[in-house]
Amino acid sequence: MSAPTYDLGKLHGGLRLQAHKAESTAEPILQIPIPDQLILPITQHAGDPAQPIVGIGEHVLKGQLIAEVGGSLGAPVHASSSGTVVAIEPWPVSRRHGENAPCIVIECDGEDRPINAADAMPDWSTLLPGILLKKILKGGIVGLGGAVFPTAQKLMEAITCDPDYLILNGVECEPYISCDDMLMREYAHEVLGGARILLHALELDTCYIAVESDKPAALERLGEVLAALDDDRLVLKQVPTIYPSGGEDQLVQLVAGREVPSGGLPTDVGCLVQNVGTAAAIYHWVVRNEPLISRITTVTGDGVSRPVNVEARLGTTIADIIKYVGGYTEHAQQLIIGGPMTGKSVTSDRVPVVKATNCILVMSEAPTIGDEMPCIRCGDCAAVCPVQLLPQQLFWYACADDEAKMRSHGLIDCIECGCCDLVCPSHIPLTADFRTAKARIRELADEKARAERARRRFEARNMRIEKEQQERDDELASQKASARNAGADAIAEIMKRKQQQDEDQ
């Protein structure tokens, strides 16, 4: 049996935060009933939007493919329940840029009829890894830790790097969020089953399951299932409760003792990290042919009357969920999708639950932290930065819009964890500034690439025009030369023939 082990690498910086997780873990996971309407954005993943393949008025079944992968990177979208497609239109969603995004709206018939599950592979261990990967690609599965990178593509990229370890991320270090904790308590078998499928598909023989030390119930449950499975490829690791130990690169550092290079990926140091929720989703899809159509979400904060974890179908609106769990309290002031550190506040509860929605946080007004004051260069931010950047220096360059310096000081490696904000005695919103600066750097890079392409096209066109002119000149010269060679009689002959033709007309 695999016991929790403690031979861990060290994480730079980080903070111990008030967890606020006990509120939402008191009750088991609550199933949200099928809503009247499902709102399914076509972009619920990193990459290109999916292409809808259903029309208005079409009847769809639960688990039916309604939008397929569009472009080179993406994930398909499946109907979360049976019903009729009534619209494909912009709808408020939660995301970094813009407020509205195209969504497929399904009016549910309440019957929840599933599509024929002929493709289930309960005997996955006899299949070739390639077939399993193809299967995973079709399940609409994305990284459920928050980055929503399409899982199949991540696995395929990982295979080319020949990793040493698979790391299952059950750390969930951000305050308030407890959906992975509850998932591991109630679906430990599925999580570990998913891990075994991944090990088989990737042909690996070590999987670390990393869980933070403040989740004793989940650790215990995983330990029990591990003992029953008796699979010594799976090793449970307890990691200390420090924010942000659940960041992908930070976890690799903690569990494998390897540092992910700047601008690199965990696969560069032989590690592949998957969220525990992703592993469970893979298990559901491969063994039971249930695509990713629901997820566990934490509903918490002092703005809801009953903090609890719920399992909701993707496309259920936040309003429906809050109504089902007992509504808002009088303190409810702001709605945040995600955690308090990295989440995004939204202005409407009409937004649907999507693949990325790990937490619905309803808070009273945030305590006023005081006005922003000048940086006193105390260096506290550098001490807590988990990526070992120098936030005070980066802030300087961000103010000066000095792109080259920001680059050379590693702004791109900032994981936007928000630790520097919390410790700053001058209350400078550093993370927000860095987010803006990163967007600006990306914009400049785009502009540069565009200019480069235009320059190449301009030069190619000039060359083409020059070549055409040259060809015309050559043609004219050769005509003149042949006319000269033919002599005066031949020219007179041609002129006469031409005159004849004109007269005939």
């Binding site: 502009e447 565009r450 200019a451 480069e452 392409r453 235009a454 320059r455 096209r457 301009f458 030069e459 190619a460 066109r461 000039n462």
Partner: protein
């Protein structure tokens, strides 16, 4: 003492002659500088500077010392970068306001297929054949507006990308 003075004076004279000969008869290596200047220009190829493209303007800046503030799409940012590269003063943009990024859109129901816009496009971003409808490849359009004026039926408009 005298010998030393004469020697140094002769050496200085020789060096001066050699340098003045070199500066007169050897061509200056302006190609690289032109390339650097060109890199800083926005490559819209809009000809609003009065030159038929970004590279010709870069050539004019380097060879003829033309002002660096003639590029409306580049705006103040480009002027600042050019000034840093060339060691000149930062000037305000001449006349026109900086352009918002936009792309040309052809109203395809009005297009008569005259090829005028296609021939005007500096980056070959318009496709179409004689007497057949034309259209703009949005991804390649630099928003230079050179296709707008030649259109005989005024079916091209600029659409902002804010």
């Amino acid at each position: 003492m005298l010998v030393a003075i004469i020697t140094i004076a002769l050496l200085a004279l020789l060096a001066g002659l050699a340098l003045s000969y070199a500066s007169r008869s050897l061509p200056a290596d302006s190609g690289e500088l032109v390339e650097q200047v060109n890199q800083l220009l926005p490559q819209t190829q809009c000809a609003q500077c009065g030159y038929p493209g970004c590279r010709p303007y870069a050539q004019a800046i380097v060879d003829d010392g033309i002002a660096i503030n003639l590029c409306p799409p580049g705006g103040d940012d480009t002027i600042r970068r050019l000034a840093t590269l060339l060691g000149t003063d930062v000037l305000p943009l001449a006349e026109k306001q900086p352009l918002e990024r936009a792309v040309a859109v052809i109203d395809e129901s009005l297009c008569i297929g005259c090829m005028h816009c296609r021939n005007a496009c500096p980056v070959d971003a318009i496709v179409g054949a004689h007497q057949l409808m034309h259209t703009v490849i949005q991804k390649e359009c630099t928003g230079c507006e050179l296709c707008v004026a030649p259109c005989p039926v005024d079916c091209i408009s600029m659409r902002g990308l804010a």
